[in-house]
């Protein structure tokens, strides 16, 4: 099932989610999500990711959402081919993969919030478009690899 990104807002938090079916092995989707240096080649929402995406590691992410800012994020969960979570004190990005036939059911969500959230909520841009581009890029790249020559 392919869905456009949606955001639900509460007083002290905001959560954006998206999901899509990818006609590629979860191994390929996982490889794309966890090879930091490769992101800019296939993902139009990422400028760079420095560091290694592995359990407990810290990465530095530059996103097109705010090109001047570098986000220092900790890899909080790392379950190969199933679940990847990174984030900071303000929020967490969760990637979930589920094998579905010969493909993958992929979902991605990010929740940001906290007691001070109402003060800075207006300054945070919407993630919806960026989430849609992220999943479209991931789907395209993973399916291209899956179809590649034997």
């Amino acid at each position: 099932m392919n869905q456009q990104a949606t955001t639900t807002r509460k007083t002290f938090s905001r959560k954006t989610s998206v999901q899509t079916s990818i006609a590629a092995d979860p191994v390929i989707v996982w490889a794309l999500l966890t090879h930091a240096a490769e992101y800019p080649r296939w993902n139009s929402t990422v400028i760079s990711i420095q560091g290694e995406i592995k359990a407990g590691a810290t990465i530095e992410l530059k996103s097109t959402l705010d090109a001047k800012r570098t986000f220092k994020l900790k890899v909080k969960e790392f379950v190969p081919e199933k679940r990847l979570v990174w984030g900071d004190a303000q929020g967490s990005r969760v990637y979930s993969l589920e094998k579905s036939g010969s493909g993958t059911q992929f979902s991605m969500s990010e929740r940001i919030g906290g007691p001070l959230f109402p003060l800075f909520a207006g300054m945070i841009p919407s993630f919806d478009e960026s989430f849609d581009r992220f999943t479209a890029d991931l789907k395209k790249e993973a399916e291209t690899i899956q179809r590649s020559k034997k």
Binding site: D25, I28, A31, T144
Partner: protein, 266 residues
Amino acid sequence: MTSDDLSSQFPTYQHQLKSFLLRLTASAQDAEDIVQETYLKAQAKIDSFRGESSLKTWVFSIASNLAKDLLRSQKRWPESVTDICKEEALGDRKFFQEAIHIRQTSPQGNFEIREHIAFCFTCISKSLPLEGHLVILLKEIYDFKVKEIAQILQLSEAMVKYHLHVSRNKMMDIFDQRCSLINKQGICHQCTELNGIFNPKQKAQEELVKIEMAREAENRSRDELFDLRMRILQELDPFESGAAKLQLHHLEHNRQVMKKYLSESD
């Protein structure tokens, strides 16, 4: 499968194995050593060979593991390897004197642009991550199937496809940017420059039209041009060709330069 079977079959792919190991390690000595070690290890383990893959695939698996053991402790080379090594070579009188001597005296001392294209790929592909390097060599040059590469490297077929896709794209990006044979704005002209030094009476342009990749540069897609580049490597045995000695001398020079460069960048 018996020890005698291995003894009789091993020589049929020994040259290919040595060529693969040279392109992986960039060292003729390491390639030679690993071939010998592979044979000894295969003989020692022949009872464990269950025929789940071809013997050739099994032998390449042993060799790849030995090479990985050697290469894991070594840093990968930078994409700009040929620029760095060119700078060093220009200041190294001995390197050029030896090269000219090989050119003048050895039956394998010819300089051919297509040989240099293969040499160039060997150097630049060492900038790929090791798994990606292994996969691209095995698939694009030594014609193993994805399933066989998965057996050789103990990876899933999906992961082999991932490495192949990433490595191909990286190499295409590098050559698109650098190689003046396929891009007029390309910054590297080393093959034609060296042709001018080693074959002063030859016109590089006349040589280039003999090379399909260069001749077709404007008409083919980047994937097709990369396949043509790979075909050049498929057709050359880096130990047996008419330019082998000169290219091996150049490769050893680059290996030494990289060793020094990488140790200084620690």
